[in-house]
């Protein structure tokens, strides 16, 4: 059995600032493995161990995703090897384009039985790459996956539904998006970090992949800071906490907020 787990090497928007003209300043942000991807890797590692499967990491992105620091960060979390598509044209790629590139890489890797992804990327958070990827491959996709067991061609998958859990059986290859809390990722130790440096890293050229052309072309024509609702900005004197509380409660009642 061959399991691919996708991950993203990117920056967290919590560390970004937005300039007055709406452009995003990433200069103070440090790239890392996207927040929920370690969860997907942990979930995939447990399944791979139970099923005796090979676990392959896959990522596609702009310059930097193939640096030793990035590949070691991924490999130390339990991947057997990684496949990287590092091409600067992918930095600004849309969800659909990125998914098509990942699908082409899955086909190139060959004989893949299962793709596991994180819940969403920390930067774009669209939750659409796994679903378009499945569409490109013609495979079923299931999101919010909390547990997975079984073998290639006979998987038992649990997924969160509102108010409960649903168990699915999947016969055939599939794309599973792990829920944000599907597993608690372990922190790699020194031994794993050292071993990561010796694991195989395959770089694929984007131009060598069979990626179907997109029918849609996106052009960004404007950027802005989001509009904010006008707020009262009224400060309540807090010298006497009880009086301040009474004033607040009165104001909230008058505003219909209570």
């Amino acid at each position: 059995m061959k399991i691919v787990v996708t991950y993203k090497w990117t920056c967290d928007p919590e560390e970004a600032t937005v300039r007055g003209d709406g452009t995003v300043d990433w200069s103070r942000a440090k790239p890392g493995i996207s927040a929920y991807d370690p969860v997907a890797i942990e979930l995939a590692r447990r399944l791979a161990d139970a099923a005796g499967a090979e676990l392959i990491g896959l990522t596609a992105g702009g310059k930097g995703v193939g640096t030793p620091i990035a590949t070691k960060a991924a490999l130390s979390r339990g991947l057997d090897r990684v496949v990287i598509i590092e091409d600067e044209s992918l930095r600004e790629a849309g969800r659909s384009e990125l998914a098509a590139v990942l699908a082409a890489a899955v086909r190139r890797i060959g004989d893949v039985d299962l793709v596991i992804t994180g819940d969403s990327s920390v930067d774009v958070a669209a939750k659409m790459v796994p679903t378009v990827l499945a569409g490109e491959l013609g495979w079923p996709a299931v999101a919010e996956v909390t547990a997975v067991t079984g073998q290639a061609g006979a998987l038992r998958v649990e997924r969160a539904i509102p108010g409960g859990v649903q168990v699915l059986e999947i016969s055939g290859p599939a794309v599973l998006a792990a829920s944000a809390d599907a597993a608690i990722p372990h922190v790699p130790g020194m031994k794993e970090l050292l071993a990561a440096g010796k694991k195989p890293v395959d770089q694929l050229e984007l131009t060598g992949l069979d990626v179907p052309a997109r029918s849609a072309v996106m052009t960004v024509t404007g950027r802005a800071r989001p509009e904010r609702k006008a707020r009262r900005g009224q400060l309540i004197d807090t010298a006497d906490p009880a009086a301040a509380a009474a004033e607040l409660v009165t104001a909230l009642r008058a505003a219909g907020a209570l």
């Binding site: 996709a141 168990v167 609702k229 607040l248 209570l258």
Partner: protein
């Protein structure tokens, strides 16, 4: 009749907002339903021009009909294809987007058509910035589905298609015996930030929540890092986006990444000891002071 917009529907007819957005584009609107027949009927009565219903056996989840949905959409290619945000709707939209080679956008604030282009104002990076995007070619949009559409008196014809479903089936459904938090349906929400000194102090916040009939939520560091609350309770760019009547923050500094989750709140109150905290630029009522005095005082005032 060739459609301008397709709406993709899973097993819930919560598509009121999608119909409104699709209608505003002008031109015929179709719906593809991968759920029970009753959902197709509700959508057909809700103001669309045609409905394609992908019928499937009962133990098959909506996701299994992804190829049938993609086929139906590709048979009459639209300018725009829309779905709600729940997991099965995302899967169906992804299949349609892959088939169409469509662009995918998930933060649309407005959608319009200008000649050959679809123009989308799209919130990016957890809504901290807006981009206006012109798309030539088909666009797949993930939007808030909205309520069940009321019957508009009309009834669109329903065409049934039955394609071989993908090989997945439901074998068991277990419901939790506890209530999950639904911040979106809460009228009042208290947001707790790092200004709170210890986890035990959440008791004081719970008391305020009880007096206020509010849900308790938090900023990201309180959920991820301090782990004082579940991730389902954190508000912000990558967390929940809510629109309550009242959002009362306690010890939250007001970083952009948190505040984008509450821009739609009716009234915002902030309690913070730092008079220069960014939060005071974004509130209706601000209280500069010690939260350990102010929170119990407000709880008392509500009683």
């Amino acid at each position: 009749m060739s459609v301008n917009a397709w709406i993709i529907v899973g097993d819930q007819p919560t598509v009121g907002n999608l119909i409104t957005v699709a209608r505003a584009l002008g031109g015929p609107v179709g719906a593809v339903v991968a759920g029970p027949r009753s959902v197709a009927e509700t959508v057909a009565a809700g103001g669309v021009d045609r409905v394609v219903w992908c019928s499937a056996p009962g133990d098959v989840p909506a996701e299994a009909s992804a190829p049938a949905v993609a086929d139906a959409v590709a048979a009459d290619p639209p300018r725009v294809v829309l779905s709600g945000r729940n997991p099965s709707e995302r899967v169906l939209l992804g299949a349609a987007a892959a088939r169409l080679g469509a662009a995918v956008l998930t933060g649309a604030r407005s959608v319009s058509i200008d000649g050959g282009d679809v123009i989308v104002v799209n919130a990016v990076f957890g809504d901290i910035a807006d981009e206006t995007v012109a798309v030539s070619g088909p666009v797949a949009l993930l939007l808030d589905g909205g309520p069940v559409p009321p019957a508009d008196g009309g009834g669109a014809p329903i065409e049934e298609v039955s394609a071989a479903p993908l090989p997945l089936k439901v074998v068991e459904t277990r419901m939790h015996d506890f209530d999950e938090v639904d911040l979106n349906s809460a009228h009042r929400v208290i947001g707790v930030g790092r200004g709170l000194k210890a986890k035990e102090d959440l008791t004081m916040i719970e008391e305020l929540a009880q007096a206020l009939e509010a849900e308790v939520a938090c900023s990201r560091p309180v959920a991820e890092g301090l782990n004082w609350m579940g991730k389902d309770r954190y508000i912000g760019s990558s967390g929940a986006h809510i629109a309550p009547q009242l959002y009362l923050t306690v010890g939250i500094s007001g970083q952009l990444q948190h505040m984008v989750g509450v821009t739609a709140a009716e009234t915002i109150v902030a309690i913070n000891s730092d008079p220069n905290a960014a939060i005071f630029q974004q509130t209706d009522y601000g209280l500069v002071g010690d939260l350990y005095q102010l929170v119990p005082a407000i709880t008392a005032a509500l009683k």
